[in-house]
Symmetry: C2
Subunit: 154 residues, 2 copies
């Protein structure tokens, strides 16, 4: 499971932390969830973020994989809610649309836009981490758009 922490107060947003939650391949499904929860609890304690954005994925070629991913997402939502974070969910299409302007962008296009928008020295090429950065950025963009609309309508 990839994760990324963005500081939304700076412009462009700054990546505070990013990585993969370490999970043993040999771990049981339950032990895997404990490892994820412990890592997320530690990240939340360290950075005190205010929101968690997650990928919402309903369909998958492999139903068993999709269910295991959903179980992990449930654990992430629980850690966030118990930590006082708001929880938002975005479909892959919403993330691509927000980051690149196209809901059907491919991984390379998303990674290129992340490099540009976040002014990165080099591209993030690890798929799960790039996905996490993109989801976090989509949430920041959505929140800013929401604030701009609210300002315009007052």
């Amino acid at each position: 499971m990839g994760y990324a922490l963005l500081d939304a107060a700076s412009d462009p947003p700054t990546i505070l932390d990013r990585g993969l939650v370490p999970v043993l391949a040999s771990a049981s499904p339950a032990d895997r969830l404990v490892a994820i929860a412990n890592s997320l609890d530690a990240l939340i304690a360290r950075h005190a973020p205010t929101a968690l954005a997650l990928e919402r994925l309903y369909f998958n070629k492999n139903a068993k994989t999709a269910m295991r991913v959903a179980e992990a997402r449930g654990v992430a939502m629980l850690c966030a809610a118990r930590g006082g974070l708001t929880v938002a969910e975005y479909t892959p299409q919403e993330v691509k649309l927000s980051v690149t302007g196209s809901g059907s962008a491919d991984k390379q296009q998303v990674q290129r836009m992340l490099t540009l928008v976040l002014a990165l020295d080099e591209a993030i090429t690890q798929d799960n981490i790039a996905d996490a950065v993109a989801i976090a950025l989509a949430h920041v963009q959505r929140a800013r758009f929401g604030a701009a609309v609210a300002l315009a309508s007052t």
Copy 2:
């Protein structure tokens, strides 16, 4: 989400507790998961069970519902593993086969068998609770069968 706690030491097994985790219909997905986790943590603290058995369901007519159920299952597995319980998963077919002798039994057949096998004064007719009792009973039967096979093979 239905739950049932069985005392496997008695014969037939005794239902120690059963019910539905109270969740507000208006709760957000994240708050729903917090309510489930808090209820399960309280049940685990009160009864100190040694194992959690869960329904494993890969397919569902409604993909969105299936994902929400899987998220809740992930939270239940996390609470169990953090509480030191072993976690087992059974498909609906495995549960029906264990409880009734037929993997294609209907709900009424399962509920009738529960009444007989557990010597209940009256049938459990609330579907989610009956399912929970059946899953717990299937786990007890599986564990006893495993112990009998181990004994027979020594």
